[in-house]
């Protein structure tokens, strides 16, 4: 469990984080979303003990992380800008990680290099950007950390490899109870992956909820009505309403039963509750708190 309490960080007069508090459950995948400059990287770097917060604390299982050698043994941070030792090969980096982390798993390393098809003896600086991302990720996962902090890790990886990476993270979560914190500015990267969503905007948390909770409180309905549905819609908390001919697409807050019952008063010929995309959920949530979500997330 990671307990983040009231983190504040200022860079040269600019507030990067303004009192961020959240909790990350063990064995979960925590999605950290926000536009560029929202404070995601800063929060992750504070979470892995690189930056010291101006105030507040980050506690892993009751232990602060900053300058905590023991706790950092269980944390791997994958930065958005990968660093490899000068002129090193994957084998060199493996040796480095082995000497640094007590839990480095050679077997997993070998397995993943095979899966990714990376040449272990080739200098990493000759790899493509995507291959370097893969290298960074496979080295991080080979450590078998308890906490994996990924900053824009999926950027630059092709869709096939992206699926592979997602699968490997998911497997690690399932097998070894990995807790992954994945930051991105692209909602689609987290689709069908995260358990928890945290939206950062200008150094503050806008939304911090379990994805399942969010899905229970907002629904998308497609319906064709015999009667004018205006009166029925007025009784619902409508987030968005579009019509294509007689087909109404309505996103509104509330329980599924409550919504269908209210709409039934307008004598629907056809009415179906369909799943929302993560993006739609976010847009609706953001609009609910008075923000134009399209300006905040991609």
């Amino acid at each position: 469990m990671i307990d983040i309490k009231d983190i504040k960080k200022n860079f040269g007069g600019v507030d990067a984080l303004r009192g961020v508090s959240t909790k990350v459950s063990d064995g979960s995948i925590f999605g950290l979303i926000g536009s560029n400059g929202s404070g995601k990287s800063t929060l992750l770097r504070i979470m892995c003990g690189v930056f010291k917060p101006d105030s507040g604390s980050v506690v892993y299982d009751g232990e602060p992380v900053y300058e905590n050698y023991g706790k950092k043994q269980s944390i791997v941070y994958l930065s958005d800008e990968q660093y490899f030792l000068p002129h090193s090969t994957l084998s060199d980096m493996r040796a480095f990680y082995r000497s640094t982390y007590d839990t480095f798993d050679d077997g997993l390393y070998m397995k993943m290099t095979e899966m990714f098809g990376l040449d272990r003896e080739r200098k990493i600086n000759t790899f493509s950007k995507g291959m370097q991302k893969q290298s960074s990720l496979l080295l991080g996962l080979s450590v078998r950390p308890k906490y994996l902090l990924c900053d824009e890790t999926f950027d630059g990886i092709d869709p096939v490899m992206r699926q592979l990476v997602r699968r490997m993270i998911a497997e690690s979560v399932a097998e070894s109870g990995l807790t992954a914190i994945i930051s991105t500015h692209n909602l689609r990267e987290l689709e069908d992956m995260t358990d928890h969503i945290c939206l950062l905007h200008r150094g503050e948390i806008m939304i911090d909820r379990e994805l399942d909770d969010m899905k229970l409180t907002i629904h998308k309905v497609q319906a064709v009505f015999e009667l004018d549905p205006t009166e029925a819609l007025s009784r619902l908390d409508v987030v968005s309403h579009e019509t294509h001919g007689r087909l109404h697409t309505i996103v509104c807050r509330g329980g599924e039963d409550e919504i269908t019952e209210t709409l039934s008063s307008a004598s629907p010929i056809y009415c179906e509750v369909i799943p929302l995309t993560l993006e739609e959920i976010f847009i609706s949530e953001m609009e609910g708190i008075g923000y134009d979500a399209k300006k905040i997330i991609e």
Partner: protein
């Protein structure tokens, strides 16, 4: 798959060994580079030199070879220490570099390693590289010595000391490099900051001295600027030079310098560690991590830069004050713009922090003005209460005071004196003697002492009225230091009574008959003749013996003679008897002259700097004969050469002229000198009278700057006594009169 147990509980230490070793291993290229540099400048050169000695076994003695090897071994120390210092800076910068790159800094700080681990690993890796590169070469040099059969027992310690000093100063310089690295954000700035830390205090010191040089003219800035002692207090670079150079380089004990550097290095490491622990990783990439420090560095740099520019302008524009002020302002502005650009990594920031700059400029100008003019007398009152004070009278005499009471008295006298100088418009500071000062006995004085911080300070007062320094003279004469000090330094006292010199000094009491055995005098001469060691100053027991019986009275007497003995390695020597003094101890002088006649060719020499009112007694008729006369006979002989004596009453302006032989004979014994110069600063004179002695000798001698040229005489038509002196074709002709003074309390009645 094996998952090891977390070692967090088992590892409370500062750094993990694996991490440290890994970093050291990755620095093999640094070790290699250090190895190559040492190989080129240390090992190969040693190999060449030592092997070149091989052929000399046939024609050089073992002692000569040993001396050469020994000298070479000592010289290796400087090379080894210098290369070690450079290695420390290079290795420190190299291993610190990952912490100056944003990506790598984030990576390394995200690893399970404490900041102490990163810090110590840089030190460790640097040390390992140095050991592999430098110490290996040292071992190779030992092998070179041994293989050539030159590893004598005497050579081992000089070589070993080179190693010890090299390692020591590697650590000292590494501490500075670490401190610079901890506060700087890029590798380039790291290197610059290291040099800044090593040199900024000396740079500020020099810039202050440069300002003082033009304003506070009685402060001897030149000697302070060139004093290694001063720089020893400011930077390990100079301490390394002093310690490596050995005792001849520094007055400060070498062990003290080493201890200072131990503390300095420990302090630098501690400060560096503290700075690194607090170092915000997010500031990586900015030139200086700590913003306030950045501003401080900027303002420290622009001060000396402004002074330097001021000096450049002064040089280019004929030392005009206005141009130097413009140069100062230009220097301020340019360095400010440059610093802003570098420290902000943007030319757009060239004029940022203008308000700070304006405040700084105003403060710098005020400070510069204060320093340049010595306003508020800030340097006048820094004479220490206790410590060590040396007083020099021009190039004539000096003495060193160490007793607290003496120093206190001297200090008070100097302060009073400075106060008089400041308030008395008639006695300008730093002016040259001019004819307007006729009637005034002028002299020069300098006072040196070590400040509480060990920085030597020296006041030099040029051409000041002698009467103002009489209180200081009194203090000197009353002090036991003058008579008791073993290292009493009169090596330049050619003015005081008798001087026997073989680049050395000795004084004879005027009552020679009873206090100075002739044999002793002769012994000194003979010693000078046969042994070059006699050229060392003869201070100790002989000097004491000569000085003690008559104490102060000795200094009140006239000079009695002057003889210089020069020896050279080939046994040739020249001796010069200077008749310009008033000889009193005729008997001894005769002996000396006899000795000189028997052994040397006479040689005349004049000091080209002293031309005014100068008479050569070489031109006195029968000069050699004078030495065999009695005192009364001698006075009569001199009196015959004098046309008239004018006595000028300084207070009333009254002038009395004496032309009769009888009057002249009465006046001559009361004069402090017969040629105007060469009056001991310790000889008190009557300030109320000035005496002009006019000689009736028309045998003008000519001389050039190279010395006396006996073949060149001016035409008789030029022998006009009313003419001060002639200048033709680089030949200066001396006048035939001189100014002198009466001995204190010895004004003849006929004058009053």
């Amino acid at each position: 798959m094996t998952q090891k147990k977390s070692l967090s509980e088992r590892r409370p230490h500062l750094v993990t060994g694996r991490y440290m070793l890994g970093k050291a291993k990755r620095g093999w290229s640094v070790a290699m580079l250090i190895f190559i540099v040492f190989m080129l400048f240390f090992t190969i050169l040693s190999m060449m030199y030592i092997s070149s000695l091989g052929a000399r076994d046939y024609y050089m003695s073992h002692e000569d070879i040993l001396e050469r090897v020994l000298n070479y071994a000592v010289s290796l120390r400087a090379t080894f220490v210098a290369l070690s210092c450079l290695s420390a800076i290079f290795a420190g910068c190299y291993f610190f570099a990952p912490m100056h790159n944003k990506t790598s800094a984030v990576f390394f700080h995200s690893l399970p390693e404490r900041r102490s681990g990163h810090f110590i690993s840089v030190i460790f890796s640097s040390a390992v590289s140095y050991i592999l590169g430098a110490v290996t070469n040292f071992v190779l040099v030992l092998l070179v010595f041994a293989a050539n059969g030159r590893l004598y027992a005497e050579v081992v310690w000089p070589l070993l000391s080179a190693l010890l000093l090299g390692v020591f100063y590697f650590i000292v310089f590494l501490s500075f490099t670490m401190l610079a690295g901890s506060v700087s954000g890029t590798t380039a700035i790291h290197a610059i900051m290291t040099l800044f830390l090593l040199f900024f205090i000396p740079a500020m010191y020099i810039s202050v001295l440069m300002l003082l040089r033009h304003g506070v003219r009685y402060l001897d800035v030149g000697s302070m600027m060139g004093s290694l002692e001063a720089y020893n207090c400011m930077s390990p670079v100079f301490r390394a030079i002093s310690v490596t150079g050995g005792p001849s380089f520094s007055r400060t004990p070498l062990w003290l310098l080493v201890i200072i550097d131990i503390f300095v290095a420990a302090g630098a490491f501690a400060l560096a560690f503290f700075a690194y622990k607090k170092r915000p990783v997010e500031r990586t990439g900015t030139p200086i991590i700590y913003a306030p420090l950045s501003e401080a560095v900027k303002y420290i740099i622009i001060g000396p830069s402004a002074v330097l520019m001021s000096e450049i302008f002064r040089e280019f524009f004929d030392a005009r004050e206005a141009w130097s002020i413009i140069g100062f302002l230009v220097g301020l502005l340019l360095s400010f713009m440059l610093c802003n650009t570098v420290l902000n990594r943007s030319a757009k920031a060239m004029f940022s922090h203008r308000r700070g700059m304006l405040i700084y400029s105003a403060s710098a100008c005020v400070a510069a003005l204060i320093f340049a003019t010595g306003m508020f007398g800030i340097f006048d009152y820094s004479v220490p209460v206790s410590g060590r004070i040396t007083i020099n009278f021009g190039d004539s005499a000096s003495t060193i005071f160490t007793e607290k009471d003496d120093v206190k008295n001297v200090r008070q006298a100097i302060k009073d004196y400075i106060s008089v100088l400041r308030n008395d418009e008639e006695t300008p500071i730093g002016t040259i003697i001019e004819d307007d000062n006729f009637g005034t006995r002028m002299t020069s004085l300098s006072v040196s002492y070590d400040t509480p911080f060990g920085i030597p300070l020296r006041y030099r007062f040029y051409s000041v009225n002698y009467k103002y320094i009489e209180p200081i003279i009194d203090v000197i004469l009353d002090s036991d230091t003058l008579y008791a000090e073993d290292n009493l330094d009169f090596s330049y006292s050619q003015n005081i009574n008798m001087k026997l010199s073989a680049s050395s000094s000795m004084f004879m009491n005027d009552k020679t008959e009873t206090t100075v055995p002739k044999e002793k005098l002769r012994d000194v001469l003979i010693e000078a003749e046969v042994n070059e060691e006699a050229s060392k100053p003869i201070y100790s027991s002989l000097l004491k013996e000569l000085l003690t019986p008559n104490s102060k009275d000795f200094y009140q007497r006239q000079a009695i003679g002057y003889l210089t003995t020069q020896t050279s390695k080939y046994g040739e020597y020249n001796e010069y008897y200077d008749y310009s003094q008033f000889p009193l101890c005729f008997e001894d002088l005769r002996k000396i002259l006899e000795f000189a006649d028997a052994n040397t060719n006479s040689m005349s020499y004049v000091d080209p700097d002293i031309l005014s009112r100068f008479i050569y007694y070489d031109s006195l008729p029968g000069r050699r004969a004078l030495s065999s006369l009695t005192y009364d006979e001698y006075i009569k002989s001199i009196a015959k050469c004098v046309r008239s004596i004018k006595v000028y009453n300084v207070k009333t302006g009254e002038v009395k002229k004496f032309e009769s032989q009888a009057d002249i004979e009465k006046i001559l014994p009361s004069l402090a000198s017969l040629n105007g110069r060469n009056i001991s600063p310790l000889t008190k004179t009557e300030a109320d009278y000035s005496v002009i002695v006019e000689y009736n000798i028309f045998d003008y001698r000519t001389f050039t700057n190279d010395g006396f040229d006996a073949d060149k005489y001016p035409d008789d038509s030029e022998n006009d006594p009313s003419v001060e002196y002639y200048v033709a074709d680089d030949i200066v002709v001396a006048p035939d009169s001189c100014q002198t003074w009466f001995l204190r309390g010895d004004v003849p009645d006929i004058v009053k």
